[in-house]
């Protein structure tokens, strides 16, 4: 049987991948702040920022939390409550008229 640390090393990406992900996260954050300050993006501000945020979220979860490389069971245990939280949030916003549909 191989050493536990070897298992971990084989499952996880290398330093180069971690640095590349950090660079992408940094660039996306700059783009987010840029989009916030440029008036031309005002009509698409919310969808653009939510998309960029979702990309950052996915990159950290998949590569830094190793969900892309770990057991699918971990993916299920994380994704189901995440979707439930998202669904509850959207339902609450509908209920409280946040989308302007109450009246």
């Amino acid at each position: 049987m191989s050493h536990p640390a070897e298992h971990a090393e084989h499952r996880h990406p290398g330093t180069g991948t971690y640095l590349a992900i950090a660079a992408v996260l940094f660039i996306i954050t700059i783009v987010e702040v840029g989009v916030f300050y440029v008036p031309a993006f005002k009509p698409v501000l919310a969808p653009a920022l939510l998309t960029l945020s979702a990309v950052k979220f996915s990159l950290v979860v998949m590569f830094y939390m190793h969900l892309k490389f770990d057991s699918p069971l971990f993916r299920v245990i994380f994704t189901l409550p995440l979707l439930l939280a998202l669904g509850v949030g959207i339902a609450l916003m509908f209920l409280f008229g946040a989308f302007g549909l109450r009246h």
Partner: protein
């Protein structure tokens, strides 16, 4: 039933996965619901404050952008710490664990600066709906960061005691899962609270 496999810890389990890691993912799932409810509450009450200060009057985007970058880089330091512990590199494990904790402390300092400047400008948790939901959400996140910093410092002390070898990599990985989760929650908060005003 399929054959049980040995997880990284060496213990045999029916899932073939380490029970500690499985339980911690379940905990993170429950944390999704906690932060989901806090973020939803913020969004539901957004724009319903009858008096100021309002988000666009008080939120400091340049400062928060720097603290967001700080937290993102702490996640990089955390994965590098895990990689160093896994390969038995004690020196770099200490460097990256210490760096992660330090970046966490810097983030908390930014938050302390932000909170104290808001209070000076007249926004407290009791001022209006924005104040109540904002301080509850970001304060709960800040408390999670503080717990993470203490956890990282504990690992750093264990490393200096010579008790954080490759066989303990799973403990560092679980601490890392917590730290990265705190980071992804901030990614959402930064967008939803600060940028989409």
């Amino acid at each position: 039933m399929t054959h049980a496999a040995a997880p990284a810890s060496g213990h045999y389990t029916s899932t073939g996965l380490d029970n500690k890691k499985l339980a911690f993912w379940a905990f993170i799932g429950s944390e999704c619901l906690l932060f989901g409810s806090l973020i939803s509450t913020y969004l539901v009450y957004k724009g319903h404050s009858v008096r100021g200060p309002t988000p666009h009057e008080i939120l400091n985007i340049p400062v928060t952008s720097v603290s967001t970058f700080d937290l993102l880089m702490s996640s990089l330091a955390m994965v590098l710490a895990l990689a160093a512990v896994s390969r038995g590199d004690k020196i770099w494990a200490r460097v990256w664990l210490g760096m992660t904790a330090l970046l966490g402390l810097v983030f908390l300092s930014f938050q302390f600066y932000e909170f104290s400047s808001f209070v000076r400008e007249g926004l407290t948790i009791k001022t209006n709906l924005f104040g109540s939901t904002f301080f509850t959400l970001t304060g709960t996140h800040g408390a999670h960061v503080a717990v993470g910093v203490l956890w990282l410092l504990t690992l750093l002390v264990r490393s200096f005691q010579g008790k954080l070898g490759p066989e303990k990599a799973l403990n560092v990985e679980i601490a890392g899962l917590y730290w990265h989760f705190v980071d992804v929650v901030w990614i959402v908060i930064f967008t939803v609270v600060y940028l989409i005003q």
